[in-house]
Symmetry: C3
Subunit: 215 residues, 3 copies
């Protein structure tokens, strides 16, 4: 065996991981865009198929995450700590699950009147995922640590914004709601949407711990 092949054999297969992570955040971005667009669509006959199309993207996310775990099992040398790759892949996968979970609640619970709270959540989620995607892209060459840090700080503040949206929604719900089944549906939907931003924050925390170790 030539020395070149020997080196190749033990060379960290960084690109595989970076490509898969970018594939995942790019897919999440598509999901967030569709969610925002669907909620802006007043015609239910058009909105429902848009929400249902998220299932396909959630499956694609599952597949990419599965590939990430297989690569993690196969590769002894990884671009950053194994535990960080595992935690980042898991939280990105959770983001897709909870977006799809929110979309399912909108259709399965027959929530036809999309309110301002739901739209506010979708908007925060989209901004979180834009920041996440840009942070993940920068991990590839680590040239712009500052941009990564700023993305993480932004996600943390967006998660606080989502908490406020949730708290205000709950206060309104319990102050004015008289239909208990409406309360059950909306509370459950709002919680599912709020968890999306929690999972974005989890992902941001992993990214932050990766750059701390690198610095």
């Amino acid at each position: 065996m030539a020395f070149g092949s020997f080196v190749k054999l033990f060379m960290p297969k960084d690109k595989v991981f970076y490509n898969l992570f970018e594939e995942v955040t790019n897919n999440l971005l598509k999901m967030a865009d569709i969610l925002v667009q669907a909620l802006d669509e007043h015609d239910i006959s058009k909105r429902t198929p848009m929400l249902k199309s998220l299932e396909d993207l959630e499956h694609r996310n599952d597949e990419a995450t599965h590939k990430l775990f297989i690569e993690l099992g196969r590769n002894f040398i990884t671009p950053f700590d194994r535990e960080d790759i595992h935690a980042l892949a898991t939280s990105l996968d959770d983001i897709a699950d909870y977006i799809w979970g929110s979309a399912k609640r909108l259709t399965n619970y027959y929530i036809d009147d999309v309110d301002d709270t739901v739209r506010a959540f979708a908007d925060v989620i989209r901004r979180c995922i834009i920041a996440l995607h840009s942070g993940v892209k920068e991990l590839r060459d680590m040239k712009n640590i500052r941009a990564i840090t700023e993305a993480c700080v932004l996600i943390n503040s967006l998660e606080n914004e989502a908490d406020d949206v949730f708290d205000n929604a709950m206060m309104q719900l319990f102050a004015y709601a008289t239909n208990p089944i409406e309360v059950i549906k909306k509370k459950d939907l709002y919680q599912e949407l709020e968890i999306v931003t929690d999972k974005c924050e989890d992902a941001a925390n992993v990214i932050e711990s990766i750059i701390i170790k690198y610095a």
Copy 2:
């Protein structure tokens, strides 16, 4: 000290871990069997003690899991990655917790009419645990990697089946239910049952990652 004892001292104490994992999945199998049988029992005065008997088995599971963690702390050398042993033990323990949680909801919420949804969940849970038990048993000698992979694939598809059971149940609940307290009870019970299969999938994912590293 003879060389033999020296080797013994550092020999991976594989059997301890395999025995404990099998003890746990065997116990889970008993829990699933009792759950299915209890739900088939129409006489509440007979069904309730069957459901309550699950508490004892959940305690036994706790003890075996505790032993697993103690062995993990004591043994430097383990049959597979420490993080995988920890994750597998945790998800198996969660399965027992959520089965017992489901049984408690049936009695504490006075859910006397066991519906088809609950029975469908119990059936999927039982099939998941049968696959899990067979997969865990094969870890001992790793001679039949194919059987382990098939068990994991089966559990993943059963978890999808459970998701569908849940989605259909929620659609029915919100389409027809008029009693809000009934909705609260059933939604909570269905969610608890669905989480059992999520935890089975978590366990299957750990098993898959163990065999990827071994292969």
Copy 3:
């Protein structure tokens, strides 16, 4: 470079971790005290600002946890396993989150009549955190392993006590409640309070695994 500085450079910075962990459990103790006092206060105009003051303490907890993660990223050598530091910091952070989450529910859901169940939870939570704080303090010199073990055993039994409080509360709620919105509010509050003790148990389990490895 003198040998002294060289040693210093690689000396485990134990104190940083111990100080931060004690800062966190001390802060949790303040939160538990305020929670108990607020729930004993019958005048809502006095109770509400007490509950709201928990937000500040929750933020301080976030900051200390953040410092713990930064130190973990920076220090190659740590007083105990990295995964244990991470898990302990995470579970202690969760305790603060769920105490603040419980306080928010009391005010946001307009739960003006604090019942015996809520007070029983607050009391168990306070006793859990007292045990946790004493256990964490003993980690510093590991001279009193027995006291640490006893703290962990106590927390486990207190978590069981909290489970019983929850089960009895649910049985009462579904046996007598007629107002579904009341049921939604109380069930959600009780669950949030019960999770506080779950997270205390998680922390105790990490502490136990630390002393098993040390012994």
